[in-house]
């Protein structure tokens, strides 16, 4: 298996976290930074082994917390929990269906901020108030829309960089029955 799709996953997380710190007019319009890390975690959980899901959660969580006022490490567990549950139930999930990806993205978009908020409220500093309102709705919608698109993009990319399975035909030239009138 090529490592390039894996590198692309981590690179996308890095760029996604950076993207959250930019585009101030978009943030002003939506009322919250647009975070697609939950959708990326869903993709990682349904396409990679559990070790990659763990590594991805650690990398993405640390990256987000390092340039945020969050307590260091607070984003790791929510992302991993989301990925772990999805990975454990992957045999029940219709991975190739767009609507399944949509609902998974929506669920992750709600679960991750809620769990992060829960962890933050256990600390000394309590976070800002109305995260349960509009920002969770925005996160759900953004991740619901982003999840199918991410699957589409990553799967296309994977097709390019991975070896295609060789499909052998059962047809053999030397065993062909040749019928004739003679």
């Amino acid at each position: 298996m090529s490592r390039i799709p894996l590198l692309l996953l981590f690179l996308t997380a890095w760029l996604a976290v950076f993207g959250q710190t930019q585009f101030a007019p978009v943030v002003w319009w939506t009322g919250t930074p647009l975070c697609v890390l939950p959708a990326l975690t869903i993709y990682a959980a349904l396409s990679h082994p559990l070790g990659v899901v763990a590594g991805f959660s650690i990398f993405a969580g640390l990256a987000l917390d390092s340039i945020s006022a969050n307590r260091l490490g607070v984003s790791i567990l929510p992302l991993f929990l989301c990925g772990f549950v999805t990975h454990a139930r992957q045999h029940l999930i219709l991975r190739d269906q767009a609507y399944a990806r949509f609902w998974l993205g929506l669920g992750a978009g709600v679960a991750v901020p809620l769990l992060t908020r829960l962890l933050l409220s256990l600390g000394q500093r309590s976070p800002l108030g109305d995260v349960f309102g509009s920002s969770i709705a925005v996160s759900a919608i953004v991740n619901a829309l982003a999840c199918p698109l991410l699957f589409l993009g990553f799967d296309r990319f994977r097709e390019v960089f991975e070896y295609k399975p060789m499909i052998e035909s059962s047809f053999r030239q030397d065993r062909q029955l040749k019928r004739s009138r003679r």
């Binding site: 890095w14 760029l15 976290v17 950076f18 959250q20 710190t21 930019q22 101030a24 007019p25 943030v27 002003w28 009322g31 919250t32 930074p33 975070c35 559990l50 070790g51 899901v53 763990a54 959660s57 650690i58 969580g61 640390l62 990256a63 987000l64 917390d65 390092s66 340039i67 945020s68 006022a69 969050n70 307590r71 260091l72 490490g73 607070v74 790791i76 567990l77 991993f80 772990f84 901020p113 992060t116 908020r117 962890l119 933050l120 500093r125 309590s126 976070p127 800002l128 108030g129 109305d130 995260v131 509009s134 920002s135 996160s139």
Partner: protein, 261 residues
């Protein structure tokens, strides 16, 4: 195995002492320095490109406007210097210590807070430039916040309304003291925050000006915070709460001044 590793690592990181957590944040955050550099270079390229599109007439008009503004400000500064001298003489006569004027340092906002739980921003002004914790941050319109974390080349700012940015304020017209409370959301929204006045103050009215009081030792007194929009009685009339429209537009921060003692 993977589950255990993640849980243990997360618990260790969550329980790190503040100093060690800060150093880890700094190390991981340095991964983003190339992107911040690229974004800055891209922004200055766009600025230069847009400047080159300006016509000569526009530039001349802008130069005239700046020349006039410069003249007005020079007169105001001369008056302020005179008043400062008078103030210092009177303070000396009363045996009070003189107020030391603050120096300003212009910096660029390079990032917004990526999480929806806090109100913040990052500026390209670090410890190598003289950044320290708690330094006040302002724009020419008014107060913005204070520095909450420093790194060698950048600093994080807690904006007004963040739980870490409490501000003691005073209503200029009535001299009522109050405390600026944390906002309900991470973005500035309609640009208003709430202050709770320390006592019931029916004299405080819409349109009154809110300034920093200088109490608390972080913000010097007299920095414009905003203007009162409306007031209401809370807790059975024990206190007055007032909505304040912030003078500085926190949604469109591009350059800010750091006040240095």
């Amino acid at each position: 195995m993977a589950v255990g590793t993640v849980v243990v690592l997360a618990l260790v990181l969550l329980n790190l002492p503040a100093g060690a957590a800060g150093r880890v944040k700094l190390a991981v955050g340095s991964l983003f320095l190339p992107l911040f550099g690229l974004a800055g270079a891209g922004q200055s390229f766009v600025d230069r490109a847009s400047f080159s599109l300006l016509t000569r007439d526009t530039l001349i008009a802008e130069m005239e406007r700046l020349r006039k503004e410069n003249g007005d400000l020079s007169i105001t500064a001369a008056q302020a210097r005179d008043l400062l001298g008078e103030n210092n003489r009177l303070r000396a006569a009363l045996g009070w210590t003189n107020r030391v004027p603050w120096k300003t340092r212009l910096t660029r906002v390079i990032a917004r807070e990526p999480s929806s739980f806090w109100r913040g921003a990052t500026v390209d002004f670090g410890t190598t430039d003289g950044a320290r914790l708690q330094l006040p941050v302002v724009t020419r319109d008014g107060l913005v916040g204070r520095i909450r974390a420093v790194a060698p080349s950048q600093s994080q700012i807690a904006l007004i309304g963040d739980p870490e940015c409490g501000v003691s304020v005073i209503v200029a017209e009535t001299r009522d003291l109050g405390i600026l409370q944390e906002a309900r959301s991470a973005t500035a929204g309609d640009g208003t925050v709430t202050i709770r006045l320390l006592q019931n103050s029916p004299a405080v009215l819409a349109g009154h000006h809110v300034l920093t009081s200088g109490l608390g030792g972080v913000f010097p007194r007299g920095i414009t915070v905003g203007e009162i929009v409306d007031t209401r009685q809370v807790e059975g009339g024990l206190y007055t709460e007032a909505r304040v429209r912030l003078a500085a537009n926190l949604n469109r921060l591009e350059e800010v001044f750091i006040l240095m003692p």
